[in-house]
């Protein structure tokens, strides 16, 4: 399971003249957070934090700009969802066509048809999804275990990235259902 990773990045940071009297390392740290937090890269995933600055190169002044440019090497923590990966998350929103699950910095879509083998109906009043035969209920705040089956990360607009989930497999689903299933199984074994 590779969901979070630490990567090393080298990039140039522009330090504006107004901040030249401050401690350069903390200024660069601020700028890195500003510049990189939430940035999405197709290959490396989404940068969720700057961990440590490894090296700050010599500042350079370029013609026509009073700012100082530093080559900085730093380590960052990235969030990278992978296809077929099992994730756990909280249901944050129930809509007509399914549920949105928060799996860290991004929300993933769990479509109606991918929740159970049963047909799910949308209960608009209570904002929940109910199984037609099994009467299984999925509502906001439930924790679920699901598999990532669709990935479309948009570098330019991270908000428009889409992650699709499925729970139509053994031992996937709302953690409540899994618990119930386990209990039933144990009873079956004992009895």
């Amino acid at each position: 399971m590779l969901m979070y990773a630490r990567i090393k990045i080298r990039d140039t940071v522009r330090v504006v003249p107004t901040r030249l009297n401050e401690d350069i390392e903390s200024v660069i740290m601020d700028l890195l957070w500003e510049q990189f937090e939430g940035k999405l890269d197709r290959e490396y995933g989404m940068i969720i934090g700057i961990e440590d600055i490894e090296d700050i190169g010599e500042g350079k002044i370029i013609e026509g700009d009073g700012a100082v440019y530093f080559d900085v090497t730093f380590t960052a923590i990235v969030f990278k969802p992978l296809m077929q990966e099992i994730v756990e998350g909280e249901v944050v929103e129930i809509v007509e066509f399914g549920a949105f699950v928060s799996i860290g910095p991004l929300d993933a879509l769990l479509h109606m048809s991918q929740i159970t083998d049963d047909y799910m109906t949308y209960d608009e009043k209570n904002k929940r999804l109910v199984g037609k035969e099994t009467k299984k209920v999925l509502q906001e705040g439930d924790f679920v275990r699901a598999r990532i089956v669709a990935l479309s990360l948009k570098e330019r607009e991270p908000d428009k990235s889409k992650i699709g989930l499925t729970m139509r497999q053994p031992w996937l689903g709302s953690l409540k259902w899994i618990e119930e299933e386990l209990k039933a199984l144990e009873e079956g074994l004992n009895g």
């Binding site: 003249p17 002044i61 009073g66």
Partner: protein
Amino acid sequence: MIDIKRAFPFEYTRFEKARIIGARALQIAMGAPVLIETDKIDPLDIAKEEFEKGVIPITVKRRRESFVWLERHELF
């Protein structure tokens, strides 16, 4: 005699001096903190004064063969 000056405590050429004062004046104009006590208002004047006092935290990196010092007789 050709003498390549590259060790740090060197005299700046007028071009380097212009570049340093220019860059510093631009920084001051863009809001960089001034390093000396002065009554001057024009960023260029402030930069010049800083340069005279030797407080500008900018150095010049000369590349190995970027220029050479020539004696007058070598030019003709």
